[in-house]
Symmetry: C2
Subunit: 394 residues, 2 copies
């Protein structure tokens, strides 16, 4: 989706591999209101640390992003490289260096080759165009097999507001406050505090509800840039009708991107929604769903198309959620397979096995312990996942 005032470009800078797009730039013609959510991993990559520092100062006008090298665990040199990269971009764009955000994804522990970024900068800036977003979405891919973008529009006080987002991520995916990389551009007129609050809420219900392999990256970053040109009256309060419309659109957009990440999870053949209902608390529901969604045995059974509910209930039992084992019901889509903790027999299992043959399905676990629910989105664990990750660096 083209949003007036935003331009995009990507080039093959040869950062880790030759002849593939690996350096992208997103530019806002005017300084944008910015909000960001970053990894909660105690080990944070240099670009994450720099972005967090700069978001404290205010808005953003450009985002430089590379794949191939994560610039994580690279020490003072890594921080200096990140700073210099943004300085180079700022100089080429003729803007203040503090208005440039940076994101990196790839191998941990290697230095980002500054000279390659420097050599590519002029071509990158020269290539900026309002329709270049698909190239940037491709430039941020690592083990992703498809680029991930999504768009939404909403109407706020009579003005049409657009949101466009892109994301990457296929492994090291159990974001906790953010996912690998996601950038959202919008023309909404909104102040920075409210944007940050809505982003935090939307991330909680989207990227914080997915898992591929239970590993949280050092580089998780979600950034939103709002250039405020849509014409809507500035959103300055959290809980108004206008604010809620924007929040709903943003949440919906991020959820779309989050599900694209799970569906493209490393080696994934299934997209599975784990839904826990009638839990004693939201924390219980989400933790129970997350424990099931991360269980290697459950995920391998999904890959094997085996309706192995015993593994689901075993994972549930170690999740810490409150329930009685003699009360649990388990559904595969609409098929009731386990009632009050007991299997319903061969006919139900045959139907559940049919559900497992689908590319996407929902496992619903009814705890009968309260009134709240929560969902986690996960993939299966396949032979291909092992192959990808046994070989990833080589």
């Amino acid at each position: 989706m083209i949003i007036k005032g935003f331009t995009y470009a990507a080039v093959a800078a040869g950062i880790r591999k030759k002849d593939r797009l690996d350096l992208g730039l997103i530019f806002s013609e005017k300084p944008a209101v910015a909000a960001g959510v970053f990894t909660t991993n105690r080990v944070k990559a240099a670009p994450v640390l720099l972005d967090m520092e700069r978001l404290e100062l205010g808005g953003a006008q450009a985002l430089l992003v590379n794949s191939g090298v994560a610039n994580a665990c690279t020490g003072k040199i890594g921080m200096q490289v990140a700073r210099t990269c943004t300085d180079l971009a700022a100089a080429a764009l003729n803007i203040d260096g503090n208005l440039v955000q940076i994101a990196s994804t790839g191998v941990i522990g290697e230095q980002l080759p500054l000279e390659k970024v420097a050599a590519a900068m002029d071509e990158l800036v020269a290539g900026l165009s309002s329709s270049g977003y698909d190239e940037v979405a491709r430039a941020i891919m690592t083990t992703d097999t498809v680029p991930k973008t999504a768009a939404r529009t909403c109407s706020i006080a009579g003005s049409k507001v657009k949101l466009f987002g892109m994301a990457k991520g296929a492994g090291m995916i159990m974001p906790d406050m953010a996912t690998m990389l996601c950038f959202v551009m919008t023309d909404a007129n909104i102040n920075a505090d409210i944007l940050q609050q809505h982003l935090a809420g939307a991330v909680k219900l989207s990227f914080n509800r997915i898992t591929v392999d239970g590993d949280t990256s050092t580089n998780d970053t979600v950034l939103v840039l709002a250039n405020c040109t849509s014409g809507n009256p500035e959103i300055t309060a959290f809980d108004t009708e206008e604010s809620n419309v924007f929040s709903a659109a943003l949440t919906d957009l991020l959820k779309d991107l989050a599900l694209q990440i799970v569906a493209d999870g490393e080696g994934a053949t299934k997209l599975v929604t784990i839904k826990v209902i009638n839990a004693a608390s939201e924390g219980d529901a989400v933790q129970a769903a997350r424990t099931i969604a991360n269980s290697a045995l459950v995920k391998t059974a999904f890959f094997g198309e085996d309706a192995n509910w015993g593994r689901i209930i075993a994972a549930l039992g170690r999740s810490g959620a409150t329930f009685e084992q003699h009360s649990v019901d388990i559904f595969f889509d609409d098929v009731l397979l386990v009632q009050d903790g007991l299997a319903l027999g061969a006919a139900a299992e045959a139907q559940a096995t049919e559900v497992l043959k689908h590319k996407a399905f929902t496992v619903t676990v009814d705890l009968k312990a309260g009134q709240t629910a929560g969902e986690i989105y996960t993939s299966d664990l396949s032979i291909e996942y092992i192959k990808i990750n046994a070989d990833y660096r080589s």
Copy 2:
């Protein structure tokens, strides 16, 4: 190891598969002092619930164990089947039913075929012999590829005390208070409270320090039977020289069995010790080691023989342990690969890659955040693990 007063037998009862040992019996000629540690999974199998109830009543004289069916999530019928099985054993042995413990391992959610257990009971009891322990160790195997036994002797107040143990477990292994199944026979003269305290301490340092796939079983059981015939003066206090000698021997025995379980983990090709040193607390050390040991990405890199320390430090960062990312050192055996959070370069990586080619090695993570240390023992995550678990029930 033969311990006077204990006899063993196993038969092929056809519980799930034909012509394989799947029903075992351990008998103590006199009622033994007993201690047990069981799964902390909220979902507990019928035999676990029955054993916990009976241990409250006092000692034990026999243990009936089957593989093939876990008798978990089987409701009231499952509890009744467990009770009836122990009643059948008690009648055949001519002892009190409350002195019979029971353990089961196998598929969750299926009823244990009572008639097959009943039909095999006479043959089982007739086969009891003091050297039959290897057959019982084989009868409890499921996806295990080798039986697991260990023996220790120690001298307590001039008396030679023997300990012999057997264990099974290869998948659904991240015991939390116990592992899948482990039975220890000893002739130590010791009272029940002290035996229980020493068992809890030994389990904490052995079975609670291993993981294959991060999943905790519904059937985890560790039982110790002490027939008190060794001649040592009864151990009645926790912290005496005699008590400590026994505790050290028991801990050493359980650690031996725990390491055998990890080495035989489903699909495992490596036995890896994750050692976290100089942590701020023991909790930090163990949690950091456990998070690394359970990371699918770390375990897959071990399988790929890739010294991918970035995945180790990323897992460390989400573990919750306190440390500064610029202080961490990482060793593969004696090879220092990462110093103060930074890679030492190609030569160190080449040496670390050599270490990874071994069947067993240690990854040491120095947090420089305190004075305590902790270890977790883990396996790699291989293509074979996926194959085993995608097909396990079929």
